[in-house]
């Protein structure tokens, strides 16, 4: 637990740990909350993007003449407009042109863009652009990408992006753009002699994050620089990438982040900003581009992945060794693929006390939509696989799933990854709690399966955050912090943290969206890091204001500071009190003034990926499913999740995070899948790509909040909201397996489940 030194007795102000009403509730309920698509600035045009209809082709010619003369069309952006800059971007690998240059690599790749007076005109002009393509052989699948004579999705040298954060990037090997290996060769002899070995190959689907608000950007390029209003989870990283791309100083790029209509990773790093800036630059007027759903689906998606894994154990259920090879399909551009690959590699062994393990994870280019971040990436891809194998061992040796985990799980302080942060959570306790919450031992019928899954997710990303806390003359507080409110409740949590330190009601603390010109630097909003890292910066900054208040109070009462207490918005000593406004007036006189605190959080070591993570996010869930053997329909009846958060800043919002993650996990496990054929996405709309509705809500669900005070964040907190996603996929997969249906491939659609049941029955005949 991090202890912040503060003067004076720290009385629990009751602000942290209270389920206060969300600070943004009223704005959102009243329809007053602004999102990028609601923003109109003077002179603004509307942009539309011409996207490739083919997965891999040479651009033979492009004719924009007819489009350019349409009334209302102001500018058309093509690759020819980018000759003055190096037009490639990508935070991990700089492999992606602002618009296609010479060739296209996936269906949906931006080829040109039009700015016009309204969307209808822009759309009509986009349709009037004539492009001739010469089709090239398509690398549509992992198999095709990994074939010995596969065409290369990219040739030329690998150019590292600004924020790959993974040490030196290796040269590309065929279509493999990144490789992450951990573990040792000592696994081989163990597998040769082990009493129990289970092995299999597993397929995980590509899915769409579907933040209900699609990607959107308003861009303005003028004498003062580049100004953006954008759906950004990571505004400071986008600022750096835009500055580098358009070759201007950081201070000349200004990004405003209004409310986000969901993110879930889909709005991490740079997305639609470069093309919007380039179009606005060409038009000489502000431009707004807002994606349609079919466009956002191919702007970024979750990696489909294949895993081969084997697990060795003794006949009394002791886990000995694990080996995995994983192939992540990152699509036509790397996006966050390398990090997803590393995080997946870290999740592959699972948090057990292995004698040896070895993981080889590869990130592979194909001619499909680029793949990046989505809630609990890596862990969601791997945990279900590892946990299916643990259960298979348990079944083989006749052990209960809870028992085998109790025997083998890592204990606090155990090494998780060599050289990295040791285990900082009580997993055995958590597993027992989740089994209890589900009703593990309740009687059940033959078509019911129960499963639980446990794993860890490397969380926190790079530990850099900063914050400014300002107390105004009237005692109200403004928190400036660069993390993004995208629904998770970040503004509410920050208000509570500052209020706790300042011993005042959180209702009097305001926290606004980022404006990179004034908001202090924050690395990103993702990897469950905001409460932990940005929250820590807010706590420290608030502590400075607290010190100021006590310093002033010490002038009022000639007593030691230790005898002065801050409570309910006032300093108190003996029987007397002075409100904060009174203290501020005492320092500044009557005309007003302001107390300001400023603080940052930075890495203790080098901040490298290998030293991390900031904390291990616990991914634990349990599920009870019903399998209809006649139709293959799987129904999730009951779920339980563990929110192992160290300290819940706002318990209600913690539970709500787990509930949201649970539902997304149910979609991912049971029916969501982007279906590709020859590089063409067949279900690029929400009629054919189904996401969960309220009818899919399980009859019962529970979230157990665990508060062991073992997080590195404020008040012993650590992040949450992602773990349940990986946990629930694993829980559903193991539950279906428990009902007697072999699981090798997600999603568990009725057809897939029905086939598994048929095949199994044939095998038994």
């Amino acid at each position: 637990m991090t202890v912040i030194d503060v003067k004076g007795p720290t009385v629990g102000a009751g602000q942290v740990g209270r389920s206060m009403r969300r600070v943004d509730a009223d704005e959102k309920l009243r329809g007053e909350a602004q999102y990028v698509g609601d923003i109109v600035i003077p002179g603004m045009l509307h942009g539309k993007v011409l996207r490739s209809p083919v997965p891999r082709a040479r651009i033979v010619s492009m004719d924009t003449a007819a489009a350019a003369t349409m009334p209302g069309v102001v500018a058309i952006l093509t690759g020819d407009d980018l000759l003055d800059i190096d037009p490639f971007w990508g935070h991990a690998i700089k492999d992606r042109p602002i618009v296609a240059i010479g060739m296209v690599r996936f269906v949906g790749e931006p080829v040109a863009a039009v700015a016009a007076v309204d969307e209808t005109t822009a759309e009509a002009a986009v349709k009037a652009i004539v492009v001739e393509y010469e089709d090239l052989p398509v690398v549509g699948t992992l198999d095709e990408a990994l074939a010995p004579d596969a065409p290369l999705v990219h040739d030329g040298p690998t150019r590292p992006g600004l924020f790959h954060g993974l040490g030196t990037l290796p040269e590309r090997d065929g279509n493999v753009c990144y490789r992450y290996r951990i573990g040792t060769d000592e696994v081989d002899p163990i597998f040769e002699t082990a009493e129990v070995v289970v092995e299999g190959t597993y397929e995980f689907p590509g899915v769409y994050q579907y933040a209900m608000e699609t990607h959107g950007v308003v861009a303005q390029v003028d004498g003062t620089g580049i100004t953006l209003w954008a759906t950004c989870q990571h505004p400071f990283l986008v600022r750096a990438e835009i500055a580098a791309l358009f070759d201007v100083p950081l201070g000349k790029v200004r990004i405003h982040v209004p409310y986000l209509g969901g993110g879930f990773g889909s709005k991490s790093y740079t997305k639609m900003e470069p093309i919007t800036v380039a179009l606005a630059r060409k038009a000489g007027r502000p431009v707004r581009i807002v994606n349609r759903v079919d466009e956002s689906m191919v702007t970024t998606r979750r990696h489909n992945a294949r895993t081969w894994m084997r697990t060795a154990a003794t006949s009394d259920g002791r886990l000995l060794a694990r080996e995995a090879r994983v192939w992540f399909d990152t699509g036509a551009y790397a996006d966050n693929g390398p990090r997803v690959t590393a995080t997946g590699g870290d999740a592959a062994p699972g948090p057990y006390r292995w004698s040896a393990m070895r993981v080889d994870a590869l990130c592979v280019y194909t001619n499909t939509a680029p793949s990046g971040s989505y809630r609990a990436f890596g862990a969601s891809h791997l945990q279900w696989v590892g946990e299916l194998q643990v259960d298979e061992v348990a079944r083989t040796v006749g052990m209960d799933p809870v028992e085998i985990r109790r025997l083998n799980l890592a204990r606090p302080g155990d090494e998780v990854r060599r050289g990295g942060k040791p285990l900082d959570a009580d997993l055995v306790g958590d597993v027992e709690k989740v089994a209890d919450a589900l009703g593990w031992d309740r009687p059940r019928d033959a078509d019911t399966g129960r499963g639980l899954s446990v794993g860890l997710l490397a969380a926190g990303a790079h530990p850099v955050s900063s914050a400014v806390v300002r107390m105004e003359t009237d005692g109200d507080v403004v928190v400036l912090v660069g993390s993004t409110e995208m629904g998770q409740g970040q503004r509410t949590a920050m208000a509570q943290i500052a209020a706790e330190v300042l011993a005042m009601p959180a209702e009097r603390v305001r926290c606004q969206g980022t404006d990179t010109r004034f908001t202090p630097y924050d690395r990103s909003t993702g990897a469950s890091r905001s409460t932990t890292l940005a929250g820590l910066a807010v706590q420290k900054a608030a502590a400075e204001v607290r010190e100021d208040l006590l310093d002033i109070a010490a002038l009022v009462w000639p007593h030691p500071v230790a005898s002065i207490e801050l409570r309910d918005g006032a300093a108190r000593c003996g029987g007397e009190s002075r409100t904060y406004p009174e203290l501020i007036a005492r320092r500044f006189g009557l005309s007003g003034g302001q107390l300001t605190g400023e603080a940052d959080v930075h890495p203790q070591g080098t901040g490298s990926y290998a030293e991390g993570p900031v904390f291990w996010e616990v991914c634990i869930a349990a599920a009870e499913v019903h399998v209809d053997r006649a139709t293959g329909q799987v129904t999730v009846r009951r779920t339980a999740t563990i929110a192992d958060v160290g300290k819940a800043i706002n318990p209600q919002l913690v539970e709500r995070q787990d509930e949201g993650a649970t539902m997304q996990g149910i979609g991912n496990a049971l029916f969501e899948e982007m279906v590709y054929a020859d590089g063409i996405l067949l279900n690029d709309n929400l009629l054919e790509y189904r996401v969960p509705t309220i009818e899919d809500l399980p009859a019962h669900s529970t979230c157990v909040i665990v508060e062991n005070g073992d997080g590195p964040g404020p008040f012993g907190a650590k992040g949450c909201g992602e773990g349940a996603f990986a946990g629930i996929i694993g829980a559903i997969a193991t539950a279906v397996a428990d009902a007697g249906v072999p699981v090798r491939e997600l999603p568990l659609t009725p057809e897939r489940v029905w086939r598994s049941i048929q095949e199994m029955q044939e095998d038994h005949r």
Partner: protein, 155 residues
């Protein structure tokens, strides 16, 4: 063509093209941005407004069809007493996160409550199945609406 309608209680006259969608007219021309665009294909319900008291997806509803009708958006509804009760239930249960689906859910809930269609958990699930929410996982929404309907919700 000219369309006469009652918008948020006020008689309103609009010049629209036959193909103009109600959502675009509301958002782009009238600045009523409380309703959101997401799926465009009548699946998500984020664009819901009330026409003659009933919820419609304004992304697939022609502005011209609103002729002679009562259209209520969140900007109008939030000024009525019925809003406060619904908003309070949603806030108490934290039945909103990003807020992108929220105004649509508030309007839909109001319409269904008025029609007496929300009597138990099954009817709430059925009634709200046309409103997607990607953030909350629906548990909180179910609880909030059950509270308003005086129904029992499972946990």
């Amino acid at each position: 063509m000219r369309v006469h309608l009652t918008l948020n209680g006020r008689p309103t006259e609009l010049d629209v093209a036959p193909s103009d969608l109600l959502l675009d007219v509301l958002r782009d021309r009238l600045g009523l941005t409380g309703g959101k665009r997401s799926c465009d294909v009548q699946v998500c319900g984020a664009c819901t407004v009330l026409v003659d008291g009933g919820p419609v997806s304004s992304c697939t509803y022609l502005a011209a069809e609103a002729h002679g009708r009562q259209v209520m958006t969140i900007e109008g509804f939030r000024e009525t007493p019925a809003f406060d009760q619904i908003a309070d239930a949603f806030a108490r249960h934290a039945a909103l996160q990003c807020g992108f689906c929220t105004t649509a859910l508030v309007l839909t809930t109001h319409a269904l409550l008025e029609e007496g269609e929300l009597t138990d958990e099954a009817s709430i699930r059925h009634g709200l199945s046309g409103n997607l929410c990607r953030c909350t996982g629906y548990r909180a929404i179910l609880e909030a609406v059950a509270d308003l309907a005086g129904a029992e919700a499972s946990a």
